[in-house]
Amino acid sequence: MRKLTAPLSREDALSLRAGEHILLSGTVYTARDAAHLRMLDLLREGKELPIDLQGQVIYYAGPTPTSEGKPVGSIGPTTSVRMDVMTPTLLGHGLRGMIGKGGRGPVVVEAMKEHGAVYFAAVGGAAALMASCVTDLQVICWDDLGPESVKRLTLHELPLIVAIDAQGNDAFHLGQAAYLDSAEK
């Protein structure tokens, strides 16, 4: 299985293919609905974002609180499509990858193709298992949002599936078609 380290280069993103399984290490940032709204507000006001998005990967996740002696609580992906209306703006500011669950709309896929970005799916609900792939968590900003604050995560080989690649191929469509094809035979 291919191993990658975030932040990702444009070449990394362009080389990935829908359906491919990878292990992601390195640094990613969490941001969900509320943090996205705040980032878009800042951009509208012409202000700087709290993180430089260039080459970065955002994980749509809000973990459970960390218990003593552990680096992180349970941490699985949330549904990505809710972020769709806000994603193209962030892709325009250098965002290279996203981790979530479920499909994305055509506007996001087009923006991904334009900017050379990739969308990964983590296994939704497998949050206790994924916690073992996070070695460090630091709150970066917006602590008042609780589980929705922006956090920097250090990952060690988080198992992901390339759900939509930078060419716009969609592993959900491809996988479902492959299964239905095999079921007919």
Binding site: T64, S74, G124, G125, A128, F172, Y179
Partner: protein, 280 residues
Amino acid sequence: MIREISASLITETIARLCVEANRNLPGDVCAALHQAAQDEPFAPARDILDLLVKNEGIARETCMPICQDTGMAVVFADVGQDVHIAGDFEAAIHEGVRRGYVDGLLRKSVVADPLRRVNTKDNTPAIIHTRLVPGDRVTLTVAPKGFGSENMSRLAMLTPAAGVQGVKDFVLETVRLAGANPCPPMVLGVGVGGDFEQVAELAKRALMIPLDEANPDPFYAELEQELLSAVNATGIGPQGFGGKTTCLGLHILARPTHIAGLPVAVNVSCHVTRHATETL
């Protein structure tokens, strides 16, 4: 004879159930997940189901929440009419949720107002469904509900002419629209009949029925099987990447309705369909 139950006992019980429900998958859901992993013919789907089985085991052994979305706390309370609650019953439930989520290190996923959106920081308030029942016992069920799946739930006021086919079409349409979003393999609760608000509650209550329990009404037992097969023929599969296992189980609860109506509600749930019950 009136039996007295203290509000503090309600609080302690709710707090314990919140934690238990979030760490231990109910036996029937767990068994269905294991069975699905064995029966899934599509290799990529089997790999995902194996991960879900592994995750459930890790959560139980390490006392961590199975899923990071520890949900809104939905509480079903069946209160015996020969019980006197000493203290404020609903306040006791909210306090139990607060303690369970704060002390149990569960995620606080509730905002105080849907439009102004400030987190309450203790996961209160709970959503409480109370029924007055015969007897002198109180049965409490805590069913934490994640919103990845809740958001995919739907309700329709069909016409009588739509009939069984209309209900089937609506369930299938709901599943197709949900696709990969609600963390399939999903569990489906279907409410049919009653009125606008009752049908939604029926759908939620249908999620509490053990997956291995057949509907006592043969007509609905058959309809459940038919719908389950149809849902699993969509090919959505685990996490939406294709496969046979789209749905672990489906139950229907039906109630009398008006001559002019055919309400139907589908409450979509995920492979982490949690609930824990205790009788006091």
